[in-house]
């Protein structure tokens, strides 16, 4: 998977209000059961499980079994592909604006000479 694809996958997983809310809910670092998270989200366990699995597939959350329960926790390092991509695109914009500046300011020098 390319950097762009990895970033797109993370952003796509976050592009849903319920999943974003789950990520924030797990943002304190704690691991929570599906039962707890579904009460908080006012959704069925099935619906919450589906959203958690989407987040798990892009490695934004991890799950662990504790007895009869599955508990989910945030993997903050899972945000790295998205962050890296934003930085790459930002650097490309800086380079492009630099070329534009050079172009316009060099023609000014020509006029002046």
């Amino acid at each position: 998977m390319s950097k762009a694809e990895a970033a797109a996958a993370v952003f796509a997983a976050l592009a849903d209000p319920t999943r974003m809310a789950l990520v924030i809910r797990l943002g304190d670092g704690g691991a929570r059961s599906i039962a707890t998270l579904s009460v908080d989200a006012r959704m069925t366990r099935q619906a919450v499980t589906k959203h958690l699995r989407v987040l798990e597939r892009v490695r934004l959350v991890r799950s662990e079994r504790q007895g009869r329960e599955t508990r989910f926790a945030l993997r903050p390092e899972g945000l790295a592909p998205a962050r890296d991509w934003i930085e790459t695109v930002g650097a490309q914009w800086e380079a492009a604006l630099g070329r534009l500046k050079d172009l316009l300011e060099s023609e000014k020098d020509l006029e002046g000479s």
Partner: protein
């Protein structure tokens, strides 16, 4: 963590000159390194291909939104579209906006690119709208909290 890019540059040239360099498709192509097939027009699709070394295989497709001379030029495009084998037409686009302001020495040009998470503001949870920077701030807090 942020879902927004904002870059600014001070250019020693009048606003009208910078506007032309942005909105004349041939001039745009020169510094952006893209060969465009047609002039820009609001509401129209813009096609071409990237001329940046190593990225010549990449097609350029954008949808021009606003051309408000000489202050605002904006378009939408696919931010991840670098694999020629993938059809990106169904995927979300980001919004690129160029804003021009006259300054004493010339022009301040600011480019913003937003919408990487494809989540319209109205659909974001309330928790994400607690401050100006939306979920970007939240994500930073989360990362700091968990990493710290």
């Amino acid at each position: 963590m942020t879902d927004r890019i904002e870059k600014s540059v001070e250019i020693a040239a009048p606003v009208e000159r910078v506007w032309r360099a942005l909105t004349d498709h041939e001039e745009f192509g020169q510094w952006f390194r893209v060969k465009l097939d047609q002039p820009f027009a609001p509401g129209a699709e813009s096609t071409g291909h990237i001329t940046y070394p190593g990225y010549e295989h990449v097609r350029w497709t954008a949808w021009i939104e606003r051309m408000e001379a000489p202050r605002l030029f904006s378009y939408r495009w696919h931010p991840y579209a670098i694999d020629p084998a993938v059809d990106y037409s169904g995927e979300a686009t980001t919004l690129v906006e160029f804003r021009l302001e006259p300054t004493e020495g010339g022009t301040r040009l600011t480019v913003t690119e937003t919408g990487f998470d494809a989540l319209p503001d109205a659909r974001r949870p309330d928790a994400l709208r607690m401050n100006d920077s939306g979920w970007a701030e939240q994500m930073r807090n989360i990362a700091a909290h968990v990493e710290g």
